[in-house]
Symmetry: none
Subunit: 418 residues, 2 copies
């Protein structure tokens, strides 16, 4: 079914809140086999809301709306929807007694405007709100459907999952399954060129590229009569893609790179310690987002000053003088220093120029060096970020560090495709 | 002017990304005096995109669009907009040479599909992209305007601020000026109660509270005929608010807490070193976001394991055994250990239980201890985050560390209002 997600609330148009409801509902509806064709947000304005509903039904069969069901004067969604669908509001005694009960329970007096929430379209399928006071509902007219739910996510989510999905069952004729193939080391335009025949030939499963800061993902999606058919179509395409660009893929299960690396370290019980300069702790911060990482993560030295590199890691001042604090030589001595001090099996270091200042022609902003020791293996890599901004350069260095670890732990070499 | 924010990209409709561009553009456009009446997101589908543009112009004078300007086949915004506005695409040689230059600089070969980005509507006002390859543009026709910008926020934000705002100047009939009063240590409902008479009495300037993770901001806004009038109305209201809750305010210039702290450290030339446990580098990562911080930031020890606390910081194993690794005593010994080792004037430490596991009845998830040494002054604080999630607990600990430093550097005591 062709659908629109409609968000009602002036606070969205002021940029006071981020529309996470649309993200959640899009994920849910797509996986249930609905085509989400539009997101629309509009303020608490009856005339404009009526216009949006009218034009939505030119392209869609169903509108999934959130917001504007509350007790205050500017909550008008119900009234407008009722009029658009040729129905009238009527008092629902059971909802009214629920609302009265909620106020009694929290020991507050119920102000009169709360009664408004118990008025519902006479033909509606009512979705009782177990978390708050405003009920939701579905209203059908002439083959078109509007579903209205409250805006606060903690009320919306349980209502959608427990009430709306069962209601929608009768409209589901297919299921969509998808996987995100996550890659590191190639740009979006290179990947598209490499996979163009697959992208061009697509009917089902479909294949699309998505650029993400510093990396690139591929979405493989299939819409079939049953979930099992969709899964097997997607998995067959994943294997085709893997045969082409397998060395760039680090996950087909929607894991982030740092999560994959954290998991590999924990699973293989590889102890790790680090030395960070330009990233200022960003690498360790990501690694320690992984619950349970304390089983393998020992410590990190954020050695920002030259002195701290010398004192904490034993980098020789001659190396810094001759090659610079940002050099392959310094990076390797940093990693070796961590190994000597901690005895961790895997030691990784980074030193670079994050910007905005400090770049030269030879060593521009965005250049960094990563040193790695893993048991007796040693490596150092020169990295050039294509970003111009401090935060992005640091983020890219962090990704490259994660990928170097991924490479040694998974036995696949680090490849950066140009 | 009546405006729509239009986001183009199928990934939005799949719920793969959150539409933060609409939040940013809504805030910007409202502050420039534009009325934002609609947000609309649509996929990379030419027919549907053309329909949305047509119906948007029934209600709006200007469409601010993002996305679909990239090099790949599914990037079609430019073609559709061009047709809707009665123009044709032409090669822009200067943009082409810019794109070629970017690929040359990063040492990658330019695939042919990148040339597409240099084709622009012949009548367009072009907005050069200083961060990426896809240029933006404005196109006018018959009193209606479409502005197209790239979707990635790191390209969109500088383009909007440096290129689009100057272009929009001629359409502004009033100016909105606002300040965000940033506070730390009080909840939103407490602040609203404290300032209720000001919030209720508002016509212009207006006052509104915004909860932000772990802190709370107040937006003071005024819409007047000239910027000078708006500024003076806002500043008068800021002084009234300051007289009420001045001790909670750390900025009225839209600086984040870590930026204020970084600035104070640099301005006062106070050297700083740190010891982080539960935050895993998050504090240092924030501090080193500040350009120029290397003048004062020396080093950090991320001492995750008990052993590393003992070996690097000289925490006594008896202290850890008696009081626990998460205790006021350990936090203070960590800060003292950093001071002894580095000689930095300001040394700060943190140890806590970020979760999801590891909490007890006495020391629940979300509890942390912060130790601080500043010259001869020593302090240790117990912090309880009211959040339930690992990431939020770490973030709140980081904010409290920043605020303790802010307090000692600005001479105002740390106040946490409940």
């Amino acid at each position: 079914m062709r659908s629109m997600i409609l968000s009602v609330g002036t606070e969205l148009l002021f940029g006071q809140i981020t529309n996470t409801n649309s993200v959640y509902l899009s994920q849910q509806l797509n996986s249930l086999g609905f085509d989400v064709l539009h997101h629309h947000s509009v303020g608490d304005n009856p005339r404009r809301l009526a216009d949006v509903i009218r034009s939505a039904f030119l392209d869609c069969d169903i509108i999934i709306a959130t917001g504007g069901l509350g007790p205050t004067q500017d909550d008008l969604t119900k009234e407008v929807v009722c009029e658009a669908m040729g129905d009238t509001l009527a008092l629902d005694e059971s909802e009214l007694s629920h609302i009265k009960g909620v106020f009694k329970r929290i020991g507050r007096e119920m102000t009169e405007n709360n009664v408004k929430q118990a008025y519902l379209p006479s033909r509606a399928t009512v979705f009782h709100n177990e978390v708050g006071t405003a009920p939701g509902f579905a209203l059908e007219n002439d083959g078109k459907i509007i579903i209205c739910m409250p805006g606060p996510p903690r009320e919306l989510l349980p209502m959608f999952e427990k009430k709306v999905i069962p209601y929608l069952e009768k409209f589901m004729d297919s299921r969509i399954f998808y996987r995100m193939i996550r890659t590191f080391g190639a740009g979006e335009s290179w990947l598209e060129t490499e996979l163009l025949d697959l992208i061009d030939a697509q009917t089902d499963p479909t294949l699309a590229t998505y650029a993400k800061e510093g990396e690139c993902a591929l979405r493989v999606a299939s819409k079939r009569g049953s979930e099992a058919e969709a899964v097997s179509a997607v998995d067959a395409m994943v294997e085709v893609v893997r045969s082409r660009i397998g060395e760039l893929i680090y996950s087909v299960d929607d894991e982030e790179l740092y999560q994959v690396v954290g998991r590999l370290l924990i699973e293989n019980y590889v102890s790790i310690s680090c030395a960070e300069s330009c990233t200022g702790g960003l690498f360790s911060e990501y690694l320690t987002r992984v619950p349970g990482i304390s089983a393998v993560f020992d410590r990190t030295f954020i050695t920002y000053s030259n002195n701290s590199k010398i004192e904490e890691l034993g980098v020789s001042s001659a190396t810094i003088e001759k090659f610079g604090a940002v050099s392959a030589e310094t990076a390797l001595e940093m990693a070796r220093g961590v190994r000597k001090k901690t005895g961790s099996r895997l030691c990784i270091s980074v030193t670079g120029i994050a910007g905005p200042d400090g770049g030269t022609t030879e060593k521009p902003v965005g250049m960094s060096y990563i040193g790695l020791c893993f048991d007796d293996f040693e490596d150092v890599q020169e990295i050039r970020s294509r970003f111009a901004e401090r935060g992005s350069n640091r983020y890219y260095s962090m990704l490259c560090m994660m990928h170097m670890i991924y490479a040694v732990l998974s036995g696949s070499p680090l490849k950066l495709r140009r």
